[in-house]
């Protein structure tokens, strides 16, 4: 188990190196000159050339990569071209918002996705199932930005129950009440993913319900509720766990949209702004961290898999 874990973590390294090369290459293919963007419309070609040299952007791309990568392995992601501060601290500023948003979103996904999915499966074919399936298909198909805008319109602008945008840091002014700023964004982000989990829990449970061992459980005289949870849902969880990996991938791209719609100072919005500013080091840093996160989530999913299904041996 431990050796499996270590092996898997070591396998991150080649993936990260390959990913970092790709990221570097693609970012430098984006048209537009960072120096020109930084200096604005009034800059002369001489100013731009001077700044380009100062930032080291006139060097061949492979040398820039080696320089950058040398920093990365020492834990230094470089300096933001725009903020002139270390990339790590720029990302850290957005991390609080994004992490809290992710946690709240995951909570909603589990709170709504799992019980409604179970309900849908246990009442399959009835109006309850049709209603929940209808809602699930609706929320899975509407775009995130659309839902976000309508929630703002209704609950923030119309009813005034929640703030419509921004997120004052909890660590700065210490109020957990600030979490209400994240309520609408996290619901927006959770809706399509919870809908997917509902569909998935439902269909996996219906599959498991057909298996022979469920009949054995019935023959023992267990109650329908006990069978649904202990024998059907528990086994369906194996397929659902795998989907949490995909959900996470979807979450990252949707978070970018949601943070932009709700003007949240998170990492997602930072990426969008950094692309507009051609702030190469920040983009590279964020994407590298996302790749690392993604690999870790996959590892966690695989570990969960081995724990949920005794037939899987983690070697």
């Amino acid at each position: 188990m431990l050796s499996y874990f270590i092996k898997r973590v070591l396998a991150f390294i080649p993936t990260l190196i390959a990913a970092s090369m790709l990221i570097f290459l693609f970012i430098h293919l984006i048209p537009g000159d960072p120096a020109a963007v930084l200096l604005g419309d009034t800059a002369t070609p001489e100013d731009i050339a001077a700044l380009t040299r100062e930032l080291g952007l006139d060097e061949p791309i492979w040398r820039q990569y080696i320089h950058w990568f040398g920093g990365v392995i020492q834990g230094d992601l470089g300096q933001s071209l725009f903020f002139k501060t270390p990339v790590l601290s720029v990302i850290a500023d957005g991390a609080e918002t994004s992490l809290l948003l992710a946690l709240m979103t995951m909570t909603w996904i589990v709170i709504f996705g799992v019980p409604i999915g179970i309900l849908s499966a246990t009442h399959h074919g009835t109006w309850i199932d049709q209603l929940t399936s209808g809602f699930a298909i609706f929320f899975a198909s509407i775009p995130t930005f659309w839902l976000g805008l309508y929630l703002i319109l209704f609950f923030a602008v119309g009813l005034g129950w929640f703030p419509s945008s921004g997120f004052p840091s909890i660590s700065d002014d210490g109020g957990w009440r600030n979490l209400r700023y994240l309520l609408l964004p996290s619901l927006t982000l959770a809706a399509p993913n919870a809908a997917l989990i509902i569909r998935l829990v439902r269909s996996s449970m219906l599959d498991v319900a057909k298996e022979d061992h469920v009949r054995t459980a019935k023959a023992k005289g267990l109650s329908p509720a006990k069978i649904a949870i202990k024998h059907v849902f528990r086994n369906a969880l194996i397929a659902v766990a795998a989907a949490f990996g995909f959900t996470f991938a979807a979450l990252i791209s949707e978070a970018v949209v949601t943070e932009t719609v709700f003007s949240l100072p998170g990492v997602g919005r930072l990426v969008v702004q950094s692309i507009l500013r051609r702030d190469y080091p920040v983009i590279q840093g964020v994407i590298l961290i996302i790749v690392l996160l993604y690999l870790s989530i996959n590892l966690i999913v695989d570990l969960a898999y081995g724990w949920l299904d005794p037939r899987v041996s983690l070697q």
């Binding site: 074919g125 298996e211 022979d212 061992h213 009949r215 054995t216 459980a217 019935k218 023959a219 023992k220 005289g221 267990l222 109650s223 024998h231 528990r234 086994n235 194996i238 949920l308 299904d309 005794p310 037939r311």
Partner: protein, 324 residues
């Protein structure tokens, strides 16, 4: 009254547009210390009959349309679902045809064995464990002290079927239904599993319904036999009585096929033709299209159940008249 009495049981399955009868006018009984064999070709309704007794039919697909099932003098079909569950796994239990898939892959076998016991009897955890060990030892699982913590995929097919038996016996049932418990196992293991069941019956007095499509297995284990063809019992008797005096041409066909022990294809060859599909409406005796003694009368009228001798019943117009 015997422990279990099935009276005129009728089961229908959902077809394309209507309910199709699969089991009709089915009556039999079994008492403590007795083993009843139900034998017949694939698809004749053996499993459905077993599931109807056990209470496991999927209501949307399969329905009991008529009949009574008495257990200890109570009609199971009149009971509420909750009352029924109190009996399932306790007073009666079942062993299934598919040992490879009938255990839940995510739980240890020890926990699965005592699950019914947990449901029906209050005991301490230590007592449950002791009982699980005792059951595993009883069904001859080697290294049972370690095996109790194994997962199903770590056991062989024969061992899994033993675990299923241990599971079914955990609450000392009065009635054990074994639906082709050995069909999926190889011949040597088959005999061990059958012996085990009979041995347990000698000790506990459990009534057993043994379902099989193999006359050899039935001859070896059962006190009484009911031969089923397309949803009807066409002949029933004590095992000795049946073998001494076969009255139905179909039973003769089954008996002639004993030598081809476990190969289903050879077995089917022993009786010409095939089992008619459920959708095919048949008038008269359902066996007449395949019967070499068939007369015009056979296609017209359904033969009534004739009582011959003490406990021998047969549904054939020419029972006793044929040289079988």
């Amino acid at each position: 009254m015997a422990l279990l009495e099935v009276e005129n049981l009728e089961i229908a399955v959902a077809g394309q547009s209507e309910w199709l009868p699969v089991v009709e006018d089915c009556s039999f009984s079994v008492d403590n210390n007795q083993t009843l064999g139900i034998v017949g070709e694939s698809g004749c309704g053996k499993s459905l009959t077993a599931m109807a007794i056990m209470g496991l039919l999927e209501q949307s697909q399969v329905n009991i349309t008529n009949g009574k099932i008495w257990l200890d003098g109570e009609n199971l079909l009149d009971m509420s679902a909750g009352d029924r569950r109190r009996i399932m796994g306790d007073t009666m239990s079942m062993i299934f045809q598919e040992p490879m898939t009938s255990l839940n892959p995510v739980y240890r076998i020890g926990d699965q064995i005592v699950e019914a016991l947990r449901q029906h009897r209050k005991m301490t955890s230590a007592e449950y464990r002791t009982r699980a060990l005792q059951l595993l030892e009883m069904v001859n699982i080697p290294d049972f002290q370690q095996r109790i913590n194994s997962y199903p995929h770590q056991l062989s097919g024969g061992q899994r079927q033993r675990v299923m038996i241990a599971m079914a016996l955990s609450c000392d049932p009065k009635l054990l239904i074994a639906d082709e418990p050995t069909t999926a196992l190889d011949v040597t293991v088959q005999n061990e599993v059958l012996e085990l069941m009979l041995d347990l019956q000698r000790r506990t007095g459990t009534a057993i319904i043994l379902i099989s499509h193999d006359m050899g297995v039935i001859a070896q284990t059962c006190d009484e036999v009911a031969v089923m063809y397309r949803g009807r019992i066409i002949e029933s008797s004590t095992t000795a009585g049946l073998f001494a005096n076969v009255l139905h041409p179909y039973t003769r066909g089954l008996l002639n096929s004993i030598p081809a022990i476990d190969s289903e294809t050879e077995w089917l060859d022993a009786i010409p033709g095939r089992v008619p599909m459920l959708e095919e409406k048949l008038s008269g005796c359902a066996f007449h299209p395949r019967c070499s003694y068939s007369q015009p009368k056979c296609a017209d009228t359904l033969p009534a159940a004739l009582s011959i001798g003490e406990s021998h019943l047969v549904r054939c117009h020419f029972a006793g008249e044929l040289e079988l």
